[in-house]
């Protein structure tokens, strides 16, 4: 009779079950179990970040509402609900004839709509407070849109078991979170009313004008002033501050140049100054110059600079202050402030080198002029 060691039967069973489990896992792996586990982990990670995004969107909405209520808003919730989902349908581009005119028209309608809505909602608030509320609503809208798009992609990926979509979304999430976080911080800075990085252009124009300049409105939310500089006449154009607006620099410059030509003073030079996105590794606040219209517009304003300069043969120069996208919409930092100083000197150098005393020069400070008056 064979004698078994005590516990040997249990060990055999454990070994047999382990082997069976291994076999089952091996088969499950062939049937895509690993992918499902991976998708589950990615989805969980996206879902956790989606909660943070939702929190950011709700926080932005609440801050905007609080600001509007503090400024005597009438029925702000109803206005904000409509504004958050407001959209602009881009014009037909397979027929490019007059596309700029059509796009300009749509942008103007949108701008007017927003302005009128906020005028009605905040009848007792001043222009600066209204512009802050408008910008805050736009930021809240952007955060809401980011949240909704991420949610849409996640649900679509899960419904259709599209692991490539979920994988792509998961890989993009750190970047999306960074953009959302930047918007969240930007909302505080806009409500505080301090200049943002993008205000570099308007500050350069203001610095060239100096404290004694007489500014006049030349277009919607856009002003111009004329001053002397080493025997030249400088015409400076910027958005009207300290409201949060970019104005209509292209349309205003077109009017200014046409008026100068009517007066027999054809400008000898046009210089646009704007904040520009730096490449990673480049120094914030560094300056570069070039040729063309420095403006981050989608078309209608930029083309006006190019058209008016080309039509009258005016050299069109550009000076940019480099910064990251985050720095452009957050409160101006010291490096950008120092960059503005350098840009002022660079513009003066260009004017000295490329024009003669008696010439007229148009300098346009492009960008959001929140916290920058005149």
């Amino acid at each position: 009779m064979t004698e078994h060691a005590p516990g040997a039967g249990l060990a055999d069973w454990i070994q047999a079950i382990s082997q069976l489990l291994l076999l089952l896992i091996f088969i499950a792996l062939f049937m895509g179990l690993n992918q499902r586990i991976q998708i589950y982990m990615w989805s969980r990670d996206i879902r956790a970040k989606l909660v943070v995004l939702q929190g950011m969107a709700e926080e932005a909405r609440k801050k905007t509402l609080d600001y509007m209520v503090a400024n005597g808003a009438k029925n702000p919730e109803s206005l904000l609900s409509r504004i958050l989902d407001f959209f602009v349908i881009m014009p037909v581009d397979i027929e490019p004839v007059d596309i700029i005119k059509r796009l300009d028209h749509l942008i103007n309608v949108r701008r007017r709509r927003f302005k009128e809505e906020f005028e009605m909602a905040l009848p007792d608030a001043d222009l600066v407070a209204r512009s802050k509320a408008e910008t805050a609503a736009e930021i809240a809208g952007a955060l809401n849109l980011i949240y909704k798009i991420v949610r849409h992609l996640l649900i679509t990926g899960e419904k259709t078991r599209n692991w490539i979509l979920i994988m792509q979304l998961q890989l993009l999430m750190p970047m999306i979170m960074k953009i959302a976080d930047t918007y969240r911080k930007a909302l505080n800075d806009f409500l505080k009313g301090v200049p943002i990085g993008d205000a570099a252009g308007p500050i350069v124009a203001l610095r060239l004008a100096g404290p004694g300049a007489r500014w006049e409105r030349v277009d919607d939310e856009t002003v111009a002033a004329e001053v002397d500089f080493e025997g030249r006449r400088l015409v400076l154009v910027k958005a009207e501050g300290p409201m949060s607006t970019v104005g209509k620099p292209g349309a205003a410059t077109e009017k200014v140049v046409k008026k100068l030509i009517e007066e027999g003073r054809r400008p000898g030079l046009m210089i646009t100054v704007d904040a520009a996105l730096k490449l990673e590794g480049e120094e914030t606040g560094s300056i570069a110059e070039g040729v063309g219209a420095a403006i981050g517009d989608i078309g209608p304003e930029k083309i006006r600079f190019e058209r008016i300069a080309a039509e009258h043969g005016i050299p069109l120069r550009a000076v940019i202050v480099k910064m990251s996208m985050e720095e452009a919409i957050l409160a101006m930092n010291k490096k950008i402030f120092q960059g503005v100083e350098k840009a002022v000197e660079r513009v003066k150098d260009i004017i000295r080198k490329e024009t003669r005393p008696g010439d007229t020069v148009v300098v346009i400070g492009v960008g959001n002029t929140a916290g920058v008056g005149q």
């Binding site: 956790a48 943070v52 929190g55 979170m177 976080d181 911080k185 505080n188 800075d189 505080k192 009313g193 301090v194 200049p195 205000a199 500050i203 203001l206 610095r207 404290p211 501050g241 300290p242 957050l330 409160a331 101006m332 930092n333 010291k334 950008i336 402030f337 503005v340 916290g371 920058v372 008056g373 005149q374």
Partner: protein
């Protein structure tokens, strides 16, 4: 020399501890990231740069803390010892962040 299973028990224990520690680190890291996202801004300090009208020594600049209502281009009084001043810049400064000491943020 044959290795008995009993002599490797310490290795199993060690592996278990390593697994638990790694899992804890990853969970803490994830939580710290989420907390970082929700952290409120407000630690930044804002400064206003005022250019004083030239006296005998010429134009000079004074940097002071930002005050509600300041904007670039605003004419101000009281920052230049009786002379009128003009705000030429407003900027924010981040406080220095403590350096990360390793794996945890």
């Amino acid at each position: 020399m044959p290795v008995s299973p009993a002599s490797l028990e310490w290795l199993q224990g060690l592996l278990f501890i390593v697994m638990v520690v790694l899992t804890l680190i990853l969970v803490l890291r994830h939580m710290a990231e989420a907390r970082g996202m929700q952290r409120q801004v407000g630690e930044r300090k804002f400064y206003t740069v005022v250019e004083c009208s030239g006296g005998e020594e010429g134009a000079k600049r004074v940097t002071r803390e930002y005050r509600e209502g300041d904007y670039v281009g605003k004419l101000v009084e009281g920052d230049c010892g009786g002379q009128p001043g003009y705000i030429v810049g407003i900027y924010a400064e981040e406080p220095e962040k403590p350096k990360s000491k390793g794996f945890l943020p």
